[in-house]
């Protein structure tokens, strides 16, 4: 039974997190100078990071409830409220969003020269939308943020992207839109079935019929699976990643694709537990397929960014594998791995962006032997590569290990297949690193490559710190999410058993 604990801070923390970037965007409308636009955007995004300090320190880790809650009637005729709050599942994403947005603005400092002001407006509005998605506790409000976010992201890819950006941008937009609108109909069906409420917490306690659950779950799945993206809905991702500007790729990989998995945790599982259990076998299969397929495809890529994009497909396969194992190790591992993936893949795209700004090529073959020329960069890339592989001591290890534990409890075979994915992951990442950094400099253009400058180091440093922090002291993250994930698992199993006609529950869950 989740509750919305009202905000006690004396200032509306979550509302500020949403609307400070909007205010920044408005302010930028009045700014003409590109330099000023950069600084203003940076200051606003730093203010967001500062707001995350009370968010994390004042957050009560002992209870699974929604905290810093705010609730105001918005559209009374439809019983819609502006209702927001965070729990252990969402709080880290809010912080990660604030961090990655700041980093994205930093890495775009010199890379974006065209229409700087508009770029920064899009970044800030995107940040507001993403935070809104993570804190919304009203299905309607959630949908508003979920859709509204498409606009700045579409413009980021389409205006500041690479040569094939038009195709990538519209593909991104249409794929996500088609999935989302189906969810909209399901949201409406949920609203009427539950007696006219969009309140997520109330809906969690509502017992939906089994057939209804199966349909509604499928419709929500359409939206979330495209966003994750799960195999076979992933084809927009490589295009979008490759064409997006560096900042866009960081946000896309770091936050945007996490929203799908977050949606599973926040809505699909607690609202439709029976359907979730019934759909589990299919989703587990799709997850391991994504793990292997993504890794396999990554081997074949010649483009730096495309390789990382396919590795994302593989890693997100791990995440959904963990979530749908439906036990605490799996879910916690999945959740942590989302954060980890946000950190390490965000950092990988940052690394690509840094080098691309100097060489203007993303082809792996154009590099080689740059370790000798740019030692700081090579070290950074090494740390991130190892984190992405999941070397013990880095964050990636903790997440993947926990997911495998969870998957093993569900069915050993999935854990075994997924482990192959880890081996493949080590293969393509190390091979990538070898081709880029080691050997002799083959491309004469790289002879005078500049190493990372102070701005870039500042942008990269927080990510490196997080890699080791979570890697060496995973409890920092686990303790925040633990109460909420435990509650979620208990809720799902209790609610699914509460339904009398719990027809053959496919794939019994062991553990506990």
């Amino acid at each position: 039974m989740l509750e919305l604990i009202p905000n006690q801070l004396g200032f509306p923390l979550l509302s500020l997190l949403i609307f400070v970037p909007v205010a920044g965007g408005m302010l930028l409308l009045a700014v003409r100078d590109a330099r000023a636009a950069r600084w203003i955007a940076l200051l606003f995004s730093l203010f967001e990071v500062a707001l995350c300090i009370p968010l994390l320190t004042e957050f009560n880790r002992a209870v699974p409830h929604m905290q810093f809650g705010e609730s105001v009637a918005w559209i009374k005729d439809w019983n819609i409220h502006y209702r927001i709050g965070v729990d252990g599942i969402s709080v880290l994403f809010v912080a990660l969003t604030a961090l990655l947005t700041t980093i994205s603005i930093l890495v775009s400092w010199t890379a974006i020269q065209d229409r700087v002001r508009e770029f920064m407006i899009a970044m800030l509005l995107l940040e507001a939308g993403m935070i809104g998605v993570f804190v919304a506790l009203d299905l309607f409000l959630f949908y508003i943020f979920w859709e509204a976010m498409l606009i700045p992201m579409y413009l980021l890819i389409g205006i500041w992207g690479g040569p094939n950006r038009l195709y990538a941008a519209i593909k991104f937009f249409l794929y996500t839109l088609v999935g989302s609108v189906l969810m909209l109909v399901a949201i409406l069906a949920v609203y009427f079935t539950a007696g006219g409420t969009f309140d997520v917490l109330a809906l969690m306690n509502h017992q939906f019929g089994r057939t209804f659950q199966l349909w509604a779950f499928a419709a929500f799945f359409a939206a979330f699976a495209v966003k994750v993206p799960m195999f076979p809905f992933h084809t927009w991702l490589p295009d979008a990643h490759v064409e997006a500007p560096t900042a866009g790729s960081i946000i896309l990989a770091g936050i945007l694709i996490k929203m799908g998995a977050y949606g599973f945790l926040r809505f699909s599982l607690p609202l439709f537990p029976d359907a979730a259990i019934a759909w589990t076998p299919a989703i587990m299969v799709l997850s391991v397929v994504a793990v292997i397929y993504g890794a396999y495809m990554a081997f074949a890529q010649t483009d730096f960014k495309k390789l990382i994009a396919y590795s994302s497909v593989s890693h997100m396969g791990f995440v959904t594998l963990g979530i749908f194992a439906l036990n605490s190790q799996g879910v916690e591992g999945g959740l942590l791995q989302m954060i980890n993936h946000g950190i390490s893949t965000g950092a990988l795209f940052l690394a690509v962006g840094v080098i691309y700004e100097r060489t203007h090529t993303r082809m792996i073959a154009d590099y080689g032997g740059i370790a000798a020329k740019v030692p700081v960069y090579a070290t950074f890339l090494m740390i991130i590569t190892l984190s992405s592989i999941g070397l013990p001591g880095t964050n990636g290890f903790i997440g993947e290990f926990s997911i495998l534990l969870g998957a093993f409890q569900y069915k050993a075979v999935y854990a075994v297949i997924a482990s192959i994915g880890i081996i493949l992951g080590a293969g393509y990442m190390l091979w990538l690193y070898q081709r880029v950094a080691f050997g002799t400099v083959t491309n004469p253009h790289n002879e005078h490559l500049q190493d990372m400058n102070l701005r870039e180091v500042v942008a990269a440093l927080p990510l490196v710190v997080l890699v080791f922090w979570i890697g060496l002291y995973p409890n920092a993250a686990f303790s925040i999410m633990h109460a909420s994930t435990e509650n979620l698992i208990r809720h799902v199993h209790a609610k699914s058993q509460a339904l009398p006609a719990a027809a053959p529950v496919v794939g019994t869950v062991t553990g506990n």
Partner: protein, 486 residues
Amino acid sequence: MPQSLPEFIKQLAPIYPEFLVIGVALAILVLDLFTDRKYKAVLGWFGLAGVICSAVLTVQLMEGGLQGAFFGNTFLLDPFANYFKLVFYVSCGLGILVSLKYLEIEDINRGEYYALMLFATSGMMLMASAGDLISLYLGLELMALSVYVLAGFMRRDSRSNEAGIKYLLLGAFSSGIMLYGMSLLYGLAGTTNLNGILSFLKGADLGNPVLFLAMVMLMVSFGFKVAAAPFHMWVPDVYEGAPTSVTAFMSAGPKVAGFAVLLRVFLHALGPIHADTSMLFSLLAVLTMAVGNIMAISQTNIKRMLAYSSIAHAGYALVGLAAGGPDGAASVMLYVLIYAVMNMGAFGVVIMLRKAGVRGEEITDFAGLGKTNKTAAFLMLIFLFSLTGIPPMAGFMGKFYIFKSAVQAGLVWLAVAGVLFSAVSAYFYLRVIMQMYMYEPKQEFALVQSPALALALAVSVTAVIVIGIYPTAVLEFARASITGLL
């Protein structure tokens, strides 16, 4: 007993707004004779002032609480009619504002233009207030005849001529069908009064095939007026050929009037056979959304694209009619208001591109607008996302309510079709955005700017954003306006 003149004038109170609009139109015709060609815009402003005064009158009538059926039950003054009248004032006012400069550029700045617009508006007002098939038909023809002339207003332009004559011929044909349907209904019910028809149907054999035939004929003819597929054939040519300002007006005003009549006739008078009409409306809605959205994809001319888009939007509104009930009706009412405003805005930006020597009607003419004119491009961006139905723009709220009432009425399949087609629509709206922001400008060109156009765009964009973020006020107004109807 003979009435004194003051008493007689007092009795006309319910119809003051209509009289005022017609009076201003007639005054414009007279003043036109004494106005130099250079100053015709003054007549436009005069017309706008007339519209605003009528709006004030209507609001006063609403607040005065004067309601009921007047003039032998042919004229209804109820919240429903008043709601639509306000929408007509908005679309007529915006229509005049976007016309002022455009008419000068096209060299068709004549006084009749504004008079015709006001006549059309008075026709629409009569349609919304009609309590009888006869007064309904009178209003409809008054509106239609004025708009036929407006569509062909560029008399030296063959496309405009074609538009006018095509609209006239097909319009006349549809009017014929409508009259036939009305006569059948009269034959059955023995009355042309809408309330009379309702009370007749409450006790009648609803399986009567003649009744069904009459209903289908009415639906076909109104379907023509609101541009529902498969009665949409005239739309692309007429919208493309007509002066752009007329297209803007046509896509908002007469279409909304058509929906006012559809709601009044089908949900109120023919309410007892809603099961039948709902099925037909559902089919019509799916077909209309399909034709509008799919055909719009391949258009290269922005006016044709917006023509197909307006067909598609009629399709969404028909979903609300299929849903029926208070929420179905209110959702249509909210939708047409939002649609009128955002569509007017989009056409306003199209008009900005029209300059002497440059047509500015191809979608590629928008190339690089995001660089050459940031404000215009940004406004267009907002209108297009609103037409697509992406929050936080008003278009989303409109669509949301429509699909909500469809799900409520159990028409989940129709809602699914609706949302999927609106996802399709994203493709062609985004194409324009792409041209504006993601292509390099082909030529430097300064856009046409005028205070009137700027005012129209400011009004529309404010409405689109405010309704998108806080729809409660408009929503409650729409919901309150159906009391008495259903």
